[in-house]
C-alpha cells in the first residue's frame, strides 16, 4: 500500500485517479463517481495556494497550447454538461462530441467544421490530462477536478454559462434534429 505522500505524487503526475470507494486515502480530496462504487482521488490545497501569486511576481505555469481555444472548449463543455446549475457541476451529464463541436463552432461564429473538430480534439486531450474532462469515444463529460470548485468559483462559472445559454440551446437543438 502506497504512503499518502506517494498517492499525492501519483495524482500530481498522472492526474486524478479512480479507485474503489473503500480505498480512499486520508488527506486527499475525493469526488464520488455517479455509481458510488468508485471515488476519484484529488489534490486538496488550501485556499491561497493557487495561481494568484504567480502573476504578482511575473512568473507563469507551463503554458497551455492554444490557451484561448482550450479555455473556450472548457467553457462549452461546462455549459453543456452542467445540467442543474442549482447544484454543483460534478458529475454532470455526458455530451455528444458532435454537439460539442457544434457549440464550439457557434461560439467562434461558425466557420469550418473540420477545423473546429481538430481544435476541439486537441483541447480535449489537454483538458483530459489535467482531469478537467473525461473522454469516451463518442461522448465527453466533466472531469472530477470540477468537484473542487468553491462556491465563489461557481458564482462566476454560472455567469459564464448564462452568457453561453443561447449557444447551448442552439447546439442541443441542432443535435436533436
Amino acid at each position: 500500500m502506497s504512503s499518502p505522500q506517494a498517492w499525492w505524487a501519483k495524482i500530481q503526475t498522472a492526474g486524478p485517479l479512480r479507485v474503489p470507494t473503500g480505498d480512499a486515502i486520508p488527506g486527499l480530496a475525493t469526488a464520488y463517481d455517479d455509481d458510488g462504487a468508485f471515488v476519484w482521488l484529488l489534490p486538496d490545497y488550501p485556499e491561497g495556494a493557487g495561481h494568484a501569486t504567480l502573476a504578482e511576481i511575473g512568473s507563469a505555469p507551463v503554458p497551455l497550447e492554444h490557451p484561448i481555444e482550450t479555455r473556450r472548449v472548457m467553457a462549452v463543455v461546462l455549459c453543456l454538461c452542467w445540467h442543474d446549475q442549482m447544484t454543483g457541476p460534478w458529475p454532470g451529464r455526458p455530451v455528444e462530441r458532435t454537439t460539442l463541436v457544434t457549440a464550439f463552432r457557434v461560439l467562434r461564429g461558425h466557420g469550418d467544421t473540420e477545423s473546429a473538430r481538430s481544435i476541439v480534439s486537441g483541447a480535449l486531450n489537454q483538458l483530459q490530462r489535467a482531469g478537467w474532462v473525461l473522454l469516451e469515444p463518442q461522448t465527453v463529460r466533466l472531469g472530477p477536478r470540477v468537484a473542487l470548485w468553491t462556491a465563489t468559483d461557481l458564482v462566476e462559472l454560472r455567469e459564464i454559462c448564462r452568457d453561453l445559454a443561447d449557444i447551448r440551446a442552439q447546439a442541443l437543438g441542432e443535435a436533436a434534429l
Binding site: 505524487a9 495561481h51 511576481i57 507563469a60 505555469p61 507551463v62 489537454q126
Partner: protein
Amino acid sequence: MTHLESHLAQLGDRQRAEVLAAFGAVRLSADPIIEASLPGLRDITLRRVVDRLLAQTGRTLVKVDAGRWTAGYTDEVVDELEAEGWQPLPEIDRALLVAVLVHSVAVPRSQGRLVGDTWMSLHPTSLAELNRMLIGPGERKAALRRLRAAGLVKIAAKGAGYLPGPQLQRLTPRARRRLEEELVMAAAPDSPLAAVIRDRRAPVSQQGDPNS
C-alpha cells in the same frame, strides 16, 4: 478544512498567506522562483514551514542555484514509486525525452560545452535527430505534444529543435546524479564508468564480484 491546513494552525494570518503564496508558487511555476520575491522563501523560518507542507504532498524544496527555488519529489517518494513500478509516461514519450537529454545535455557535457550537473541546456536536439528514431511521425508528434504540455521538453528558439523543459529543474541532487548514471549505462554500458556505477548499485554481497 484541508489536511494541509493543520500544518498552518500556528501561524498568524499574514504568515499563513506568505507561506501559502510560496507553497503555491514553487509548485505551479514552470521556472524556479527568486527567493527575494516572496517572504515565504526569503524568511528561513517560513521556508521551513513551506518545506513541511510540501513534504505532506511528497515534495521538497529544491535549490536550483543561488537564490532560486522550486519543488521536486522527495528521494523517498521516488524510491517508493519506483519499487511499485509507477510510470505515468508512455514508453514513446520516455524514448523521446531520453533522446533530447542525450543530445542536448549528455553529449555537450561530455564535450565540455556544458558544465555542472544541470539538465537544462541551450544545445537543441534537432528534429532530424528525433526523426531518425523508429517512431511513426503521428506517434512522435503526439508524444512531443504531451512532453511539451508536461514541461519536460520545450521548443528551441527559431524552431531549431527541442530542449529539455523547465520541469527538469525540479530534480533533487540525487535524482540529477541518478539520471546521469542511467544515461551513462544506456549510452556506454561497457565503459569503465558504467562498471563503477553498476558496482556501486549492486548489493554489498555482490560488489567487486567480476561475475555479477
